[in-house]
Amino acid sequence: MTVEGTAARSATRRSGGTGKRASAARKKKAASGDPELVQLLTPEGERVEHPDYAFDPTPDELRGLYRDMLLTRRFDAEATALQRQGELGLWASLLGQEAAQIGSARALRDDDYVFPTYREHGVAWVRGVDPTNLLGMFRGVNHGGWDPNSNNFHLYTIVIGSQTLHATGYAMGVAKDGADSAVVAYFGDGASSQGDVAEAFTFAAVYNAPVVFFCQNNQWAISEPTERQSRVPIYQRAAGFGFPGVRVDGNDVLACLAVTKAALERARSGQGPMLVEAFTYRMGAHTTSDDPTKYRRDEEREAWEVKDPILRLRTLLEKEKLADKEFLDSIDEESDALAKRVRDAVRTMPNPDTTAIFEHVYADGNALVDEERAQYAAYLESFEPEEGEQS
């Protein structure tokens, strides 16, 4: 090991996805890929093969993935619109990350468990969480409106990186139970800097926990580009903790599915954790509160537009004659219906009752909460009806 070892060299190779050399390892059709990036479907809609990740989806699977991505995008667009209309306080759009989310989520089994960030609407969709349930926290009626155990999909976590430790602990429990389920922790490129994520890597490695760390590197943490978080590609972080990391084209739903599946199999079979970095792009603002024109150039976004995850699958479907008009129309219809359902559900979503403040603070009850609840109730009752209005 020399001073100018591999790390020093790779430090000079900034994160890319724009590499020009063809991978020697790729068997055929490896046109303009980055050797570091696992890809099975090019931006042009060409199927390519990868020596380590064979994947032969059936036509139905392909159509299913297309449908998932399209409906997810539509749901996302509807939520953004609802925010603009004042129905939601905030929305964190997944636009551009559909392949990373749908691909990885379709690799899961029902008994696997997912710990998301706040942007995994596509994963939630695949897990079967009703999309309208995702909107509660963004509307401000709750902090997470679904039962995590109904769909093995934990609540959204806002404190960046925390959930990677929960996922690791959960996976340790899975292993203790002797189950062959696996766990996925989603996190972002920005999150990779948090100490909690490093600790999750350490615990997962030391206990050989069946957890897959799925990092959606969408190039930005609000206004900060990935270079503010790491000077080498994020997937390389894993090796120094003792488990493999791989970078996958995050706009390639097939590659995301295949790589995640391999990582999950690895976890199930007792080989421990793995890091998957899905190289993708946040096409929209960080959230509806954000104004990306302050910090990034339009050209960057445009360069990613041609890599759109849905477009490339659509091209493939059309080329292979897998999507006739009937199919496409049916999705459009479904999509409209979904949007309408979401819209209606949000608009009629009731505000929580005041007493909800005091609910579920403790599972076993608590004298202080009881006292404050009672005092507040007495206070409210002290108002004459018309005085209540001026409060």
């Binding site: 509307r139 401000g140 900060e224």
Partner: protein, 327 residues
């Protein structure tokens, strides 16, 4: 006198700018403080004018931000670190409590760590979880830290300047829902009261309201409403949460004989507990009623649609005044 009317947020921005102009050792650091100018634009334009070496976009790691700020302070810099929202200060809590707060004492005074930590805090902006909390008591209990919170534009400007000039670590709590409230700022004349002095925001005789940060405005509104009912309330803007200017509160209470402390933070072990306990001790024979407290409940900050119920408003303050007067 060259006072200008500006929003509290702008006053903070001007304050940082002036501090950076006056002292090349002053640095600004945090998540998104550079190009974006912070999610609330408090650091807007600073990176453009002072460069990336002095206005530093940091990795997304709060412990790293405060830990490196400590190192920079040891090297002679005066870092002003931004924590993006109240709920995200906790990853840095260890560095703040075990290192920042204690290093000066640990070194028997041989080193100083003049780090300012700016935290937009408290609620009222309809945000999602972790964006509306009032954690000040969790810092005020810790020796070695100073905690302050301005309630208006002038204090925002001057208190931040004083915090940056202080050789001690200061946690600077910015009442985020008052960012857009405008007030006069005279940047030419250093104001009288020191960073840790309270201020009589309104004189009165029947009872005293003590508050800081966002609740000062609420208390002033309550006092105005009370006046219409013929009651004269004195409002003390505490400004400093650690240390508390008990002398000023005591003088007020000796006059009014009743005290209500108001803050957004949960009442249980909130700053009001300390004020109640100490003022009761100091004014035992003056108080006609126990010190009453109005504040948050012992529950997580609720979803946005409930925050109006959760946050102390005019009515809850006046209800407490009624109760105090009923003794």
């Amino acid at each position: 006198m060259t006072a200008t009317r500006m929003p509290l947020a702008k006053a903070l921005n001007e304050s940082l700018r002036k501090a950076m102009e006056d002292d090349p050792k002053v640095l600004v650091m945090g998540e998104d403080v550079g190009k974006l100018g912070g999610v609330f634009r408090i650091t807007d334009g600073l990176q453009k004018d002072f460069g990336e070496e002095r206005v530093i976009d940091t990795p997304l790691a709060e412990s790293g931000i405060i830990g490196t700020a400590i190192g920079l302070a040891l090297r002679g810099y005066r870092p002003v670190a931004e924590i993006q929202f109240d709920g995200f200060v906790f990853p840095a809590y260890d560095q703040i409590v075990t290192q920042l707060a204690k290093m000066h004492a640990r070194a028997l005074g041989k080193v100083k760590v003049p780090v300012v930590i700016r935290i937009p805090y408290a609620g009222g902006i309809g945000a999602v979880e972790h964006h509306s909390e009032s954690p000040e008591a969790l810092f005020a209990h810790v020796a070695g830290l100073k905690c302050v919170s301005p309630s208006n534009s002038s204090d925002a400007y001057w208190m931040l300047r004083q915090a940056i000039e202080s050789d001690d670590p200061v946690i600077f709590f910015e009442p985020k829902r008052r960012y857009w409230d405008k007030g006069e700022v005279d940047t030419s004349t250093v104001p009288g009261p020191g960073l840790h002095s309270a201020r009589i925001a309104r004189e009165g005789t029947d009872a005293t309201l003590a508050a800081y940060g966002p609740m000062v405005k609420t208390c002033l509104e309550a006092a105005a409403a009370a006046e219409e009912e013929g009651r004269s309330l004195e409002v003390v803007d505490l400004r400093s949460i650690s240390p508390v200017d008990f002398d000023t509160v005591q003088r007020s209470v000796e006059k009014t004989r009743r005290l209500v402390v108001v803050h957004e933070a949960p009442v249980f072990l909130g700053a009001g507990a300390e004020i109640a306990a100490r003022i009761t001790e100091r004014c035992f024979y003056h108080l006609e009623a126990p010190v009453l407290r109005v504040g948050g409940f012992h529950a997580p900050y609720p979803p946005a649609r409930l925050e109006d119920e959760y946050l102390p408003g005019l009515d809850r303050v006046l209800d407490a005044v009624d109760r105090a007067l009923a003794y």
